[in-house]
Symmetry: C2
Subunit: 205 residues, 2 copies
């Protein structure tokens, strides 16, 4: 392979294959270089350490979750429908990953646990998307919130059972879809709640 | 020790001590009998298997969380205040356990993971308590919910980040108390939301 064609994307494609076949411990710069048939020096130019390689693999995995959600966040339609679809899409993406290949899901989850900065950035990106939807809902006269940012964090936290990998074993349970609907409807009610209603208090978030 | 004084409580006290010092694997009927200086036959009359002993230890641990919450559920005051205090007390009890003795917390958590029936019963007890508070809130004219049972499950699910052991590492983070307040206030808004508000939809839960 010529060094011109050795892009970061190409390295990460190969790193994913190595990860899939051999696990985290065997996904080092040297192992990926061997799989690509190049010197490990040429990989180091893109990823100077195993940690930076692992972080990049985790970031790409998480981007595959976040990118379709960004599309929903940037639509123009009614915020209530987009919020529910955004949350459903997030939960479904996670559930599909764990049901399709539990072992690979576990491997990526472990990788992400070690890449806390990458995960924090991912959560920030997701709550930014939620903030956009909630802000649209306020502009549409549907939501009444003092702080869309705080509300977005609240929505993310309140739905953690349906998208955090620690709860993946519960996602196959019967009833989990009904549980999801109850929580999302509660969230929508809270975001829409009038500050006037109840008299003495604000809309809550 | 005479066999009369060998109550289940006494056995569980000792089993807890053995668990604390030696972990789950060494907390068997034989080990507990040895620690008590009795024959294991006399333990088997109370706990016929290691599993039944472990389940009873897990159940007692969980009861220490649930019992103070039952008191709040059975009070007569305003539901909003009781709901917030109930959730705060649950979160604080879990947080105190993990910060005081992370290793013991982890041991009990592992034990509970293996005692799914016990945990399911615990969750049922907690959601029953929440149902009582929400029903009181409806009677007080504060909450408007179609199904207090479904709402209770929703409240429990929406606060999972603050009481499920899988999230225990997050409980020491700065900001977690603020996150808790946002979610609880959202929940209270949702429970109080008028069915009339928004026109086309019910109060949500």
């Amino acid at each position: 392979m010529s060094s011109e064609s050795l892009t970061s994307e190409r390295i990460l494609d190969t790193a994913e294959g190595v990860l899939r076949r051999h696990g985290i411990a065997k996904t080092t710069v040297v192992d990926v270089a061997r799989a690509l048939g190049v010197s490990h020096g040429s990989i180091y130019r893109h990823f100077p350490t195993k940690v930076s390689l692992h972080d990049a693999v985790a970031a790409r995995w998480l981007a595959r979750v976040a990118d379709p959600l960004a599309d929903i966040a940037h639509e123009d339609g009614p915020a209530d429908e987009r919020l529910r679809r955004w949350l459903r899409t997030l939960a479904e993406a996670k559930r599909r990953k764990v049901l399709d290949d539990p072992e690979l899901f576990h491997t990526y989850h472990t990788l992400a646990e070690q890449a806390r900065g990458v995960v924090d950035e991912h959560v920030r990106e997701l709550t930014d998307q939620l903030t956009r939807i909630i802000r649209d809902g306020a502009a549409q006269g549907r939501y009444r919130v003092a702080s869309p940012e705080a509300a977005a964090r609240g929505v993310f936290d309140a739905t953690v059972r349906f998208h955090h990998p620690a709860h993946s074993r519960e996602w196959g349970h019967p009833g989990v879809d009904a549980d999801f609907d109850v929580v999302v409807t509660m969230i929508q009610s809270a975001l829409a709640a009038s500050g006037a209603e109840g008299g003495e208090r604000e809309s809550g978030v």
